[in-house]
Structure formats: structure tokens, C-alpha cells
Subunit: 112 residues, 2 copies
DNA sequence: TTATATACATAAGAAAATTATGTATATAAA
DNA sequence: TTTATATACATAATTTTCTTATGTATATAA
């Protein structure tokens, strides 16, 4: 999933849900480019990870899709459902807790 | 590996290496208790994850072991080798980068 | 004597990625 | 003109890393 890092395992769904909460609707390729842009090329979302993740989130009812043809190419737009928004809130909190505890364990926050 | 979180996947080696860099030598069970203590019971290291990870780090030359019998029970103490210390520094930097980028992606750091 | 804590270990299975492959169109470069 | 790159989707095989379950063994508290 990344340039040299396998630490992002488990965070993909959270990242996707958060991006969709900020962007109303996005298509797969757009998500890969957005992640690339935000991380300045450090994190490259692999298609083999992204598309199955999107399908899973859709199957679980967290995402809704609309398909469009733009420039003769197919685009499958994803947007957050009601429950997807709830899931985003939950997963975001879990991610915050995770970061806090990882920082504790790795002694990255001085207890000034 | 955790109470309700699968986000820690991939961070176990880093956590172990960091703890060993701070404690000179530790044995497996001690590591599980240390992690439990630091995270206030939130993160419970599973033995099925920890012991294979220790064996792998040892096989790669990052850890050295000495075995002792205490109270009639076996203890296998692990300590960082020279290369293990280097690996710890590398993995710690990767973890820092990972956290920073995850915070960027999840919009957890206001750009004040 | 039963449960819990200490202390190690490994095998089977699940989950989530990577890598590789496939289809298809548009455009820039050689 | 044909080759590479970008856009846009998808899935299968494999790998990695974890969880769950199981096993051995001693000490102590209920």
C-alpha cells in the first residue's frame, strides 16, 4: 500500500471514509490521486487494495455508488451513506486512540 | 493483538524494539505486561503474536537471548543487538512518518 | 481442587495487504 | 505510427501478520 511502509494496514477503510466525508463523492482513481497529493507521493494507494476495500464498504452498506461515463471512460462515484457517516465517526475515533497509544508505547510524546 | 483494534498490525516489531531499547533486557511475558501497563489495559499483546515476532527478530539478528530459571520457571531474556539498535532507530522514524501522514490524511492536525 | 497468574511455544485460520494480470480509452512522445 | 503514460475499472494468487486455539509446566490464591 505504501512506498516502503506496511504500517498503513488496517487504516485504509478509515482513510477512504474520511476522504468521502470531506468530498461528498469521489471515484476510485480520484482517491488514489488525492492520497498521493496529500502525502506528497509518500503513500501510493495500490489498486489491488483500494478497489476490494471500496467493494467491501459498499457491500456493508457504508457506501453508495453512481456510475458515469466521462471522456468515454467509466467512473464509479462513491459517497457516504448515513451509516457510512457513523462508521466514519467511529473509525476516526479509533484511529485517534490508536495514534495516542502508539505514541505512548513509542515514547513519542514527552510528558512535559 | 488489541482489545478492539486491528490498527496495530505492523507496529509490533517497532514496539518490541523500542521497549528493549529502553529496558536493556526483557522477557516475553514482561513485554506483554509492560504494554498492558503503558496502555492502561487497552492493548493486550497476544502470545500468538508476540512469541513468533520475537523469534523472527532474533533470527534476523536484531535480538540476543539469555535464558534463566527464576522461581522454577523458565525466562528467556531478550536484548537488542547492535544491528537491532539500528533497526529500532529506522523503525521508529518510519513510525513517526506514518503517524504524521496518517494525521494528514485523517485531517487530525489543524494547519493553524 | 480449581482458578488464576506466570512463562514458554506452535498450528490453524482469518484478514488485509502486495503483486501480477486483465480490459479499455485518451494523449503525449519517439 | 507505435510506444509509453495516464486514466479507470477489476480480480486472482500469494504473502504477511495477526487472532484463536491448543499444549506444556510451575506457583499461588480461593
Amino acid at each position: 500500500m505504501s512506498t516502503n511502509n506496511e504500517l498503513f494496514k488496517g487504516t485504509l477503510q478509515t482513510i477512504v471514509l474520511k476522504l468521502l466525508s470531506e468530498n461528498d463523492r469521489m471515484y476510485g482513481y480520484e482517491i488514489t490521486q488525492k492520497v498521493k497529493q496529500i502525502t506528497k507521493g509518500e503513500l501510493m494507494l495500490k489498486e489491488g487494495a483500494l478497489y476490494p476495500a471500496l467493494h467491501k464498504l459498499e457491500a456493508e452498506g457504508f457506501l453508495e455508488t453512481t456510475t458515469e461515463v466521462v471522456d468515454n471512460r467509466l467512473r464509479k462515484y462513491y459517497s457516504l451513506s448515513r451509516s457510512g457517516n457513523k462508521e466514519m465517526v467511529n473509525k476516526l475515533q479509533e484511529a485517534k486512540d490508536f495514534i495516542a497509544q502508539l505514541q505512548l508505547l513509542l515514547n513519542l510524546k514527552p510528558t512535559t
